[in-house]
């Protein structure tokens, strides 16, 4: 055995020298600054291929457990299109518009999605939009826990490849008529941006998950915009818009929506739900569920309640149900107001939340709680 020892030692020594030498070379390469990080200098072909392979494999693996919901809703496509026009189009271009040269100068440049959104499966698109991509300039979705919003964008991206300019403009509405991240507009044009998704006294919101704002309380609207701007309420769609608003703009917009006369309530039979469901919902809204420590909705959201508490009657069921779900899963509830509602929403069962959303969506007003008749005659 002893005779092999020197040879083994030599091998070990050699290996150590190779590793140390490699490390030293690497250190020289990194620390000398010889590598050129300029976007104007392209990767080698092989580097490019390796990066792309890593990217594809990573996205494929990480999106493996994403469950694709039903995206057959025309509402979602339209909502996704309006957000695309605000948040994605500036880099990814849209049908009928060319990519901005500045964006084209990025390396890697944002792919024009009108052409190659097809490269990805729906679950992969979701994962990319939700989480963003390192070192590419693709940001993560800013609304934590708002996967529902991401799916609206995916629903739109599915239809985007090969879409005609006319169809795109129709889907994106007023939101598509400009480019850039911020609301560098004022007055009527700014107002039009809001209406493009939220509707007004004549038109419905673009999607049932978007709340109509006609005649909503001003103090609540102001609070909502401030909470979005401060990241105290989560929405990848509203946060960037609210953050761009000045205090005066928030004041003007909230006042304008508050003054707006209310659109008459029209509900399809499907939205109205079954009678029994509405009755259960009404009971919760007016009486609460004392044994579950759930107070009546009407105690805080009735007609004469505080201005900072929103009117809920007449909002769409999809919006109300989504918000209740966000409260219950802890996504909404960062503000002091949100904390109050979260503590109530968490005590509801799935079925009760659905019942009460159905009821509130079907009535145009929720009366406040009146003084009960005295149970005993005061002496």
């Amino acid at each position: 055995m002893a005779i092999f020892l020197p040879r083994r030692r030599a091998v070990a020594l050699g290996a150590i020298m190779v590793i140390a030498g490699g490390l030293a070379l690497g250190a020289v390469f990194v620390l000398s600054g010889a590598y050129n990080v300029a976007a104007s200098v392209r990767h080698f072909d092989i580097t490019n291929k390796l990066i792309k392979l890593t990217l594809r494999r990573s996205i494929d693996t990480h999106s493996a457990f994403v469950k694709v919901p039903d995206l057959q809703n025309a509402d979602l496509v339209r909502l996704g299109a309006r957000h695309f026009a605000n948040g994605c189009q500036p880099c990814h271009a849209a049908p009928g518009s060319r990519q901005n040269p500045i964006v084209a100068g990025m390396y890697p440049s944002a792919p024009p999605l009108g052409v190659n959104a097809d490269d990805w499966e729906q679950d992969e698109l979701f994962w990319i939009v939700r989480h963003g991509l390192k070192f590419t300039g693709m940001p993560q979705w800013v609304g934590d826990g708002r996967d529902d919003e991401v799916w609206a964008v995916v629903a739109f991206l599915r239809e985007l490849p090969g879409m005609s300019e006319q169809r795109y403009n129709e889907l994106a509405g007023a939101a598509g008529s400009r480019s850039g991240f911020t609301l560098e507009v004022a007055g009527e044009e700014l107002f039009a941006q809001c209406i493009a998704c939220h509707g007004d006294d004549r038109t419905e919101p673009v999607s049932a998950t978007v709340p109509s704002l006609d005649g909503q309380k001003q103090a609540y609207l102001r609070r909502a915009l401030e909470e979005y701007a401060l990241d105290m309420r989560q929405s990848g769609m509203m946060e960037p818009l609210a953050a761009a608003l000045s205090r005066e703009q928030i004041e003007t917009l909230s006042e304008r929506f508050a003054r707006m006369s209310r659109r008459p309530l029209e509900r399809t039979p499907a939205e109205k739900g079954r009678d029994s469901q509405r009755e259960r919902g009404q009971h919760i809204a007016m009486k609460g569920i004392p044994r579950q420590s759930v107070p009546a909705c009407a105690s805080c959201h009735g007609q004469t309640s505080a201005a900072t508490f929103p009117r809920l009657a007449g909002l769409s069921k999809a919006y109300l149900a989504t918000q209740l779900r966000l409260y219950r899963q802890g996504t909404r509830g960062d503000s002091a107001y949100g904390q109050i509602m979260q503590s109530v929403a968490r005590k509801l069962t799935d079925e009760q939340a659905d019942d009460v959303a159905t009821y509130l969506a079907g009535v145009s007003d929720l009366p406040s709680i009146e003084a009960p008749a005295p149970a005993s005659t005061p002496r």
């Binding site: 420590s293 107070p295 009546a296 002091a336 109050i340 709680i369 003084a371 149970a375």
Partner: protein
Amino acid sequence: MTRRGFTTLGFTFGAATVLGGCSGPQSVFDASGAEAQEIMPLFWTVTGIAVAVTVLVITVSAIAVFAPVHWRRHLTSEKFVVAFGIFLPVFVLSGLLTYGLLVMQAGSARSRSAEGPGVTIIGEQWWWRVIYDGPEGEEIVSANELRLPVGRPVAIRLQSDNVIHSFWAPQLGGKLDMIPGRTNTLTVEAIEPGISRAQCAEYCGGAHALMSMYVVAMEPDDYRQWLEAEVNPATKPADAVRREGQRLFIAHGCGGCHAVRGTPAAGTIGPDLTHVGSRHSLAAARLPNDPQSFRRWLTDNQHIKPDNFMPEYDVFSDSELDAIAAYLDGLE
């Protein structure tokens, strides 16, 4: 610190803890109820006999180990074994059993004599719902304070609609569990006016230790007057600040959980606040009853009583908080 230092410290703390329970509003040694008074001699008798038996056993053991042979021989005699091994235990234990049964008998006799209006106490998490039988048989809902007339056995019906609690007012008598789905009746008779303290004596969740209340024993005439006032709806807010407080209270949905009789607030989830200003404490004896405590409770109650079911209302301006606190404080 030296080892002796630690020992001294341990003794000091231990003694302080033990002796601290010997007096004060929540002490069994300051009996102010008929039942507690009867239990007291039983307690001292049992304690005295236990001490005597312990001393006896130690003495006999010492004799068995250290004493001279002729002493030890006595221990093995048949006479000694029969006297101390059979007759003494039978005599002492039978005596104590009889005494205990007599005390229980006295208690149950008092229970049967408990006529007139009683009180229902329902254990909540983590407070007490207190419902008095009114002068005309109506229910008078209150919370977190028990008032009793002196000199009359009162039946307290103990219930729970959530988990098991236990009602224990040490100055008045023994403890009794509050079990969901059944009513346990505890009869107490206060023998002198004064304020003592009750505590939940069965672990009932996070804030169990913070579930207490004051028990106020009153002269019969005072009690009657108080109960007649308790029937009434809440007093109208006396000034502009309190009126604003009431408006804020209603507009912010407080009535969804709390009742203030005579106003739209009719919630049954939380404590009834109709006469909250006249109670001796807030939040089940957690805070003194003053405007400052109302303010603290509104905005910071999760620190004061962790995990309690009320959300924090950190949404008011300073003047709004003052107004609400003034309104609630004025509900006497």
